[in-house]
Symmetry: C2
Subunit: 192 residues, 2 copies
């Protein structure tokens, strides 16, 4: 029962981001988006708990142009926990996409509505793809900027792997939507 897991998966996610650079709760909420869906109402209370456990510390930073913020920094203890966790095999992702049900019972809807459903998803994926490409470009700029520091290079590599994953996945979603839209009009080949 007394597990390796200290708090929960999200807490390790926060440690992961903090292991690359110190960030505020607000910045964590923004930066975690491509990795994991989580709202600020989950993150702020979790940061308090993690600080009580000694995995992070915070420092209030006053800003002239914006409201004050709390910058969280990972501790040695937090880094140790994270190091142990990263080597444990990852759980398979939970399949949970509403579109699956809607595809399955697509025969119940009018052809125009079926088409709209797939187009909407395709457009969403296309905007996501753009965002990921921007993040990737940012990451490369950072990499070029201080290409000497060995550790920074390493975290840049992690971001590169992750963004590559998301880009490949999103491109596949777009390919699927395009193919499925074709299927709705003809009766044709399969994509594999």
């Amino acid at each position: 029962m007394e597990g390796i897991r200290v708090v929960n998966t999200l807490s390790y996610g926060l440690l992961t981001l903090l292991s690359a650079s110190s960030l505020s709760g607000y910045e964590l909420t923004q930066n975690i988006k491509p990795l994991w869906r989580a709202g600020h109402s989950q993150i702020y209370p979790l940061l308090v708990t993690m600080e009580q456990l000694g995995y992070i510390t915070h420092e209030r930073v006053e800003q002239a142009d914006k409201p004050d913020k709390k910058i969280y920094t990972i501790t040695g203890q937090g880094l140790d926990q994270l190091r142990q966790w990263v080597e444990i095999p990852a759980e398979p992702p939970a399949v949970r996409d509403e579109l699956h049900f809607k595809l399955y019972s697509l025969w119940l809807s009018k052809p125009a509505e079926a088409k709209a459903l797939l187009l909407k998803r395709k457009e969403f994926c296309q905007s996501e793809l753009e965002r990921y490409h921007l993040l990737l470009a940012n990451n490369e700029a950072l990499c070029a900027e201080r290409g000497e520091a060995r550790e920074l290079e390493a975290t840049t590599f992690g971001r590169y792997l992750l963004l590559s994953k998301r880009i490949m996945e999103t491109e596949t979603s777009i390919r699927f939507c395009t193919w499925a839209l074709e299927q709705l009009e003809s009766g044709a080949e399969r994509p594999f």
Copy 2:
């Protein structure tokens, strides 16, 4: 506030499966797996609620070779609800994959462990892919068996779309793992 949503997403998922054929709670638990992650402890109580709402009915079926079961059937009211729901645009899927964090902080782990992490995921995806191909073959057999009935053809098409989606996605995951493993050994090209 008085929404279109009657119970929750899972309940529409169950209606979706029941709109293709009547099934027991146990069978629903098995069949929903490629579409949505849900355990039997979510499904059994939900079926009771949905029956109270008049969307499904059940009939006890005695079996000689196996324990008795309750076969659930969708009602006209349930079909109406489902028809309304399928045309509402699908929510984007929630990104929630532990591997994202582990990739991001891969630099913290030993190279051998990093490799193991990706290999494990790759193997999982390969076994998933096999399962989907089997389901697809099953679906085609069903299709060939009674190729006359128009409605059955329609539900077969839905399953075909869905399985194609899962197959494309799983193949992409495998491609990613293969590519990432290569990256760990060299410093090379990106896959897009």
